[in-house]
């Protein structure tokens, strides 16, 4: 069995990091994405509660 | 809101006498302090610490001893089943005042023991402004007691009493602890005590604000 090459992983994340470092606008976009994910997660929770209500009635 | 001095002092005397008779809290607390200080000493293992770190350790020990000591305030009454008896006997504000008095006394003694043990065991721990240092320890203790008294009343009504106490207390106490640590640093390393004035103001206003709010809110916590 071979483990994933740490070097490769490191390089990959490194380029991603560098990309974000050089293109600041994408940092802002990442942040907007995080906020959307948070709101989506909250929506899912409400959805679950409504589904529970539907099951009952 | 009627606060009578007499009921409060009666409750305070009762608590002191009860504590001296049973010694549940006192013995356990003393051991707690000894144990936590020895853990600090073991981890230091004879090295000389920087004063900042020693101050941090001091406040950690003070915080956690207070956590284990104050939590019993109302839980003890709840366990004995005497809560309703007290509810019948006096107004909520005098109960709060009595318990607050007892906690103030307890924490002042506790902090004095902790600080003396620290001074004895940490040889290189020199204080440049002893007067300010003791004032900060006293105010810090008062602050901890004032905030934790009402939280102790809250947790007495909840299920997981002991573990809940530090969880609820820490966020409320954090402004106090930060100001306290900063003032202690001034007392230990500073050259003038004037540098600690903003911190002292913060400590005093914190105590005033928290005690006033507690008096206003205690009714709702105390009565079912």
């Amino acid at each position: 069995m071979t483990l994933p090459l740490p070097k490769q992983l490191a390089r990959e994340s490194r380029t991603m990091y560098e990309f974000l470092e050089q293109n600041s606008l994408f940092v802002v976009l990442t942040i907007v994405l995080i906020i959307w994910a948070g709101l989506f997660f909250y929506l899912l929770r409400i959805d679950k509660r409504v589904a529970k209500l539907e099951d009952k009635s | 809101m009627a606060l009578a001095v007499k009921p409060a002092s009666a409750l305070f005397q009762k608590d002191v006498r009860s504590e001296l008779r049973t010694r549940y809290t006192l013995n356990a607390l003393l051991m707690f302090v000894v144990i936590s200080i020895s853990v600090v000493l073991f981890s230091v293992a004879g090295e000389t610490l920087q004063p900042e770190i020693t101050i941090g350790m001091l406040w950690i020990v003070m915080f956690f001893s207070a956590m284990s000591g104050m939590s019993r305030t109302f839980v003890a009454e709840e366990e004995k089943g005497t809560t309703m008896t007290l509810q019948l006997l006096a107004s909520p504000s005098s109960i709060y005042a009595g318990k607050l008095l007892f906690n103030l006394l307890l924490i002042v003694c506790l902090n004095a023991v902790i600080v003396v043990l620290f001074l004895l065991t940490m040889e290189k721990f020199a204080i440049s402004q002893p007067g300010l240092f003791w004032l900060v320890i006293l105010l810090g203790g008062f602050g901890i007691a004032s905030a934790t008294t009402i939280i102790a009343a809250i947790i007495a009504k909840a299920r997981t009493k002991g573990t809940l106490f530090p969880v609820l207390s820490f966020p409320i106490l954090l402004p106090l602890i930060m100001a306290g640590i900063s003032a202690t640093k001034t007392a230990v390393m500073g050259t003038t005590w004037e540098a600690a004035i903003p911190d002292l103001q913060l400590l005093v206003s914190y105590i005033v604000v928290v005690i006033t709010t507690s008096f206003l809110l205690f009714d709702y916590v105390w009565k079912d």
Partner: protein, 216 residues
Amino acid sequence: MTGITVKDITQRFNRRTVLKDVNFTAEQGKVFGITGKNGSGKSTLVKIISGIISPTKGSIAFTRNGEDIPSEKRHEHIGLVGPYLTLYEEFSALENLRFFHSIRGLKYDEQQSNELLARLDLPTDRSDPIAAYSSGMMQRMRFAFALLHDPAFLFLDEPTSNLDTDGKNKVHGIVRELSAERCIIIATNDYEDFVLCDDYYSVDGSVPALLEQPAN
């Protein structure tokens, strides 16, 4: 006039309604009874009246000699006997009484306390903690706790539950003696207590075993 007016008391507990719109008046000179099956809310009602629980809705007015007593002063005028009241077991009887006296802001008089203990058939010469007392003695200690400050309003919740016939008679004697000048409320399911009452309120509509009256 000395008395209590209970108005529209409603108590909800975990969204269940325990008491709904309770209304009654209890006056000095008459013994008022609160009845109902076990778990129907008798004790809750007594606790609400004595101020231990604040009700979800409604109000209670206390009047002494025609004057209203504000809620923060009521604890000075209320005496309560109930199974849920515990005394400080690490203290002796007299120490307990002294604490109750001083927390109410009253002057402690050892002579008076001793007389009260003697009247309730409790030992006056014991200085050991009351933890060692039997349940009957403890019940009598509760009476000492309730009667100590000579309250105008006396609430008795299951007052005879732990007592033998002698004790019961004693309690009944005390109730009769005190009822002339005080407002007494008894919450009970016991027929012998119930016959003392001049008027009653039933929490759930039931009345203690009227059919099982003793032979006499």
